[in-house]
Symmetry: C4
Subunit: 240 residues, 4 copies
């Protein structure tokens, strides 16, 4: 029986992103409570283990609401993005293998396939860590605010030698967008390799503008397109 | 119990191509109704979810026949190919990861193993999109007719920064041919990498002509060879 | 219940090599009947489907014995090797993805890890096809005899743009040796890539001679080592 | 029912490391008996097959204790490390595919993601084999003592053309650390490839010192962090 509540769908998102290889023991997906400055997030544990009872509510300043569960440090990533971006209602912080090479090289993620067009504004790399505060984790409020500022109004950002953050208007959208980021990164890595072998660079999808608009707004972000991919991911990567 | 009807086999083809990683939430496999200007195609949904009741009939001008289901834009790809090619009775439109690098680089798919010989005539890349019409999707009748014209009498074609179309004389043939395209692309990517490391290029299977004829007509496209690979794919990638 | 007869183990070998990705709808594993100029081989079908009743006996000249099943063309590969090599009692002919790049480039398979030492004598590429006879398949007696002559007393050989043959003294040994060939090829492809990036070549295991002798005869080919790997493959890649 | 005894957890570690692809028919994970110069290790067999009854006790000089099981040669690797390192209570010896390219090239494993920081002291390659003694296996006491000396006080080391050793303060820590080594190697291989294509090298995590300290001691090696990853691995890669 499928649990269609926001909490139920957040549990499903945890399982789907685990099975897809995006969440790897660490990393998290959160969703903003509609009409509240609060988010839903799992307790400190692997996404593979998340069940309904593990979802807690947290205010955007990091206070756990309605339970005795403890907060934990990387929730700062999510909270800072929600504070900075009214249009964002769901966030995935992760370390998917395909994006990792882009976090430690000069190569930048660029759209190489049609669905990658949602990253048309670029995926910049944040590296202004408070190093004494748990190294390459983003844990302090000041550090996470700088990170959110560096994200700006973009869809996603990388964290130097660590991973990535992806945002969405809805829970379904952020899951789907995260998968598109991973797909784009995989295809781009292969394309760069091939282009290097034949001498040249991949042809990135950087125009014409009307094409990108038609692709992003006219196709990728439409509810029925997002729904189709969400349903696919749940069917293939979810649990019954 | 296996459903050996054309509809039943189309459902199986959807599942096999999903499990093989060819259909990824999007993409579609269709088959032409014998003796009719109609095709069978799934409703707008992921191939992972396709069951018998989801298969609809559509005329080659895009009218859904015998049901209230709606048509949708990318069916234009299939319909245009059927209109242009009497010898084609099944089409797969997809975005298999292995072919993606060839859609955005100057590298061209060339036969690197014996079964790849069916692509002896080349796999050209179409990029004459109507950009204002959903970007890099092929959705209008005019656009899809140009695409079919660019395909010509070849087995397959690429779509710039998007994916590929593969054709077959039968449903089984197009599924098998799609898998050979993916295998060839994978092996070619690795071969280009290795050749680059040792200095040189892969030795493509571009002759002698009698060898290609004997391979394609004498082996690969024979019904029993197609049947063997189809049975294999159903056993390993199908559902019981 | 495990069937420990030669036929039963041949069925298991078919399933293991399929699940490992070595047999891909095509390819075959055969074993010589002890004390007879006959071999056991599956009927013409995918290895994924092989059950006990599908195993047929065939003389080394290609006559099917004791049943009405038909012979088929690529059995010539196995028969020619058995005729030429008294020390060989089992053969795998396959197209494992990792070996394919070596069949169309100047890169040669060389031992890059300890178990790869069994390929110390090299893995030469055969390309003297009778092209008019089914292209890059080896199907005639003369063609397969030339192929076996090119193999010489080596463990394995490649076929230009097609695949590989691996030999063993026993069924278990040939399965294990085939897996080592695949592992070595995978590691070598990655090592060549890395070496290319840092400028240089992988350090192949080409000496000292006493080390190779101690590795091959003292470890890899000992029955208990072969048995350990066979048991592992059956546990992980077999069917219950 | 989970067996939380040291033996039970060692069985689980065998299964997890097999499913993760670290143990491949060969390789082993051992743990030191608390307060004793003894270790627990599987009998000579694949890790895929290990059950509680297969775990034997062995003194650090190689004597099997309390059973009639036989010792075997590569246990020397584990015993030598325990003799040399009081801080090490668990060891994994393995041949994970991702580390293999680093054992035969001049490329060195360097931290490319936050969890890779535990390898900040480098992962040197041992190649001072007694070649007449089973080639590239480490089997004699003198050979293994040299190997342990080359390891020094580091977390891990490579063995030329063979594999790697990883150490931990606890069983859970060594399993988690082994997975981080594999992840780091995978990401580094991809990063080197990309960096090569754009011209340059990956930016390794080699400072500032306070960042590495905060990352390693403040995060990665904390019991709750190790526990989280162990629980994840058991959930995803263990057996129920």
């Amino acid at each position: 029986m499928t649990d269609d509540s926001l909490t139920g769908r957040l549990v499903t998102a945890n399982h789907v992103l685990t099975d897809y290889g995006v969440l790897d023991g660490f990393g998290h997906v959160t969703v903003r409570e509609p009409g509240a400055d609060e988010m839903l997030v799992s307790r400190y544990q692997s996404s593979a283990l998340v069940e309904t009872d593990d979802i807690i509510r947290m205010s955007l300043d990091g206070t756990v609401l309605g339970s005795d569960d403890a907060t934990y440090s990387e929730t700062a990533i999510h909270r800072a993005i929600y504070r900075a971006r009214d249009d964002v209602n769901a966030v995935v912080h992760h370390h998917a293998p395909a994006v990792m090479p882009f976090t430690v090289t000069d190569a930048e993620i660029e759209p190489v396939f049609h669905m990658g067009a949602i990253f048309r504004d670029g995926v910049p790399t944040f590296d202004d860590y408070d190093h004494a505060e748990r190294g390459r984790l983003v844990v302090t409020e000041a550090e996470s605010d700088r990170m959110a500022a560096a994200l700006g109004d973009r869809r996603a950002q990388l964290l130097e030698g660590h991973g990535a953050n992806v945002t969405g208007a809805t829970l379904e959208e952020v899951v789907v967008a995260t998968v598109y980021l991973v797909m784009n990164a995989r295809y781009q890595l292969a394309a760069m390799d091939v282009a290097d072998a034949v001498g040249g660079e991949p042809r990135y999808y950087d125009g014409p503008e009307e094409s990108l608009d038609a692709m992003v707004d006219g196709v990728i972000l439409r509810p029925r397109t997002v729904r189709r991919m969400w349903d696919h991911l749940v069917a293939v990567h979810g649990r019954e």
